[in-house]
Amino acid sequence: MSTVAQIAPPRTSLSTLPIDQRRGVYAMWSVIATEAMLFICMFGAYYYLGNNKDRWAQESPPQLRFPLILLAILLSSSFVLHWGERQLQGPVESQRFGLARIALWITVLLGMGFLALQGFEYYYHWSELAPYSDAYGSIFYTITSLHAAHVIVGLMMMAYIGVHPRYGTTIRTPHKPYSTIALYWHFVDVVWVFIVIFLYVIPNFQRMHHVH
């Protein structure tokens, strides 16, 4: 069957190629895609349940100060973690593993602060709004606590990376755990940005529209 169209394949030598450690990051991008879709479904449910109901004409929406402080915490944690990631770039000899580890633990502390403040926010609002009050309460708490669950998972993974031994040429995982987990953490932060917009900022604007 020599009628089959042929193109000469690349003749790169295989045996001298470097070890590739990027599969973990590709897998994490896939995880992020599917998790993002989960949150999109949640936001879709939020708007579907709110459809044809003008809730903010009567009720006051959740206060803006908590989510904005939380946003500041998360965004700064992302910057810290990104700085830590950059300490690990370049050849193995010039990587500053200690600094990267410190950045990781600062991020963990900030994430714990996030969880504590969000817990206080729940406590603060609980008497007016609880998951079992009505459908809005159900979806509000489901979205925010699903995000909190992602934060918890992120913190646990970062704590795990934080106690990892330093790995180099002979002791290592097949993937790059630090950048993989950092990618996940940035994703969790971005989700919070959307939660702030959809669940806090827009309702407050709608409320302003009704009051004035």
């Binding site: 169209a5 042929q6 470097p18 590709y26 897998a27 879709m37 479904c41 459908a135 159900s138 990892h164």
Partner: protein, 625 residues
Amino acid sequence: MTTISAAERLTSLWETPKTTRGWFATVDHKELGIRYLVTAVAFLVIGGLEALLMRIQLSRSDLTVLSPEAYNQIFTMHGVTMIFWYASPILSGFAVYLVPLMIGARDMAFPRLNAFTYWTYLFSGLLLYLAPFIGQSPHAGWFAYVPYTLTRYSPGLGMDIYALSLIFLTISTTGGAINFIVTILRLRAPGMAISRMPLFLYSTLTTSFVILFGLPALTAACIFLELDRRWGTHFFHIAEGGSTLLWQQLFWFFGHPWVYVIFLPATGMLSLIIPAFSRRPIVGYPFVAIATVLTGVVGFGVWLHHMFTIGMSDIAMSLFSAGSMMISVFTTIQVFAWLATIWKGHPVATASMYFAVGSVMMLVIGGLSGVFTGIIPVDWQAHSTYYVVAHIHYVLIGSNVFPVFAGFYYWLPKITGRLLDERLGKWSFWVMFVGFNIGFFPMHILGLLGMPRRIYSYRPGLGFDSWNMVVTIGAFALGIGILISIINLLVSLRSGVLAGRNPWNSDGLEWSSESPPAPYGSVHIPLVASRNPLWDDFDEEDDPDNDRVLDWGRLTPVTTALDANPIGLATIPGDSLLPLIMSIALFAFFATMVFQMVFTALTMLLITFAIGCVWMWPRDVKEVM
């Protein structure tokens, strides 16, 4: 001389020891693929027996073989089993076995994840089949509409098991999809550019993306259902501002793409089998590839056609009706490509080809009845009648079961090393084909006569009796046909003719290895120069300097996503018991959640995380450097 020792070194690196521990710890994609296939066929048999029970009950009017509640539970278990635990996993089984061989990789990108997804698939099925043993099976059909599934109308644990075992299964399916995406995009043999991939890889890749973007809707719906049932929320309670249609929207946003998850890999298999037995490359390769991808994309825009009867605006109905019709164009492109391939080729009548051509015929019938139900007035008439049952079975059996059997007759010689009996295979085909059409075509008529689906019995004198008897006879014939093939397989394992490397003289890389393949695939990583590597005059394994043996570690080349230029070597982890242990911990989590044992469940979740930590702990890999 060097080749022999290289093969020995590769074997010692890649072979799983034949011990009890090895059996549980293996991460070999070939072993796991076989397990997927065997487990999925077991679910096919279980679901098939449930169907036969239903057909006995419906064979005549006013029978009392099954009580109404038992009938409800059995048709629900039949649907859930077939759609979730047979139809998609069987295709995963083929893909797990074949994808690394087709792309010339030594294993999947994440072999331990591969083992984990198999075990979670098995355990989620066990969780579902816990339900009949505690006497509380789900009973609301495979799409479980609220409010019937809320605690007020379904107080038992059946619907909790439904929701939680589905969430459990989504973990398995999503993990598998990620594994396929990274494997297909990164581990293809040097030279296998994206324009030269076997079409089965296009369909598996599309399906994997559809899973990534479609399954979260099911997860969200099941989370809402479980929260509403046991934890006091109000997503589906209208009095508290909830919406019962929210379930339908989320479920079908997942549900219709899922149809393509079940359907596309099977068409990908046909796109390999039909050209192989027509003795020529497929006609219109790029069109088939693009049609496959577009089916996956447009499949996300048609879900409302399952809900035309709920009352919606004309513009929404028109858009989704048009979308549903448009998607048939893509399927038509594939069908015409297959027909043209047969027309222009020199077809060989093997049992596999019989199944392939038979499935194309039934796919066309099922597709046409789908076009009918895409027309809104017809849909209003046919909705929730046996017409829809006929349609779904023509599409699913025509586009899944028959291609899967074609795939069995085509690839089992590669997997077992022995050919199946052709004569018995053709008998099996004819019995299945005739039985299927006798069994399901009259359902169209029953539906148009007005027989609703999901009724446990019917009164005499409505004109349903004789057609239902015909349907029952056909269903049993279909079961006998499947049984013939299973017997054929068991006989061939013992006394089949040895297959050799390439019994069908096919074109794909999977046929260049021995049958069954060595644990490492091929000694030299192949180079690919065309779409039909074994039909061109380029020698894929020509490697005079032993540059592509990679026998000093568990390694496989990493290539670029589009052009497949080699850029690195991937280290492939070895056998591990952790995937199995982690699946058991997750099973314990979901099983305890069914009984709302929160603290035990949370403990199980923490244990799962701890196992994951051990799994990912850095290891000494001195031999690589």
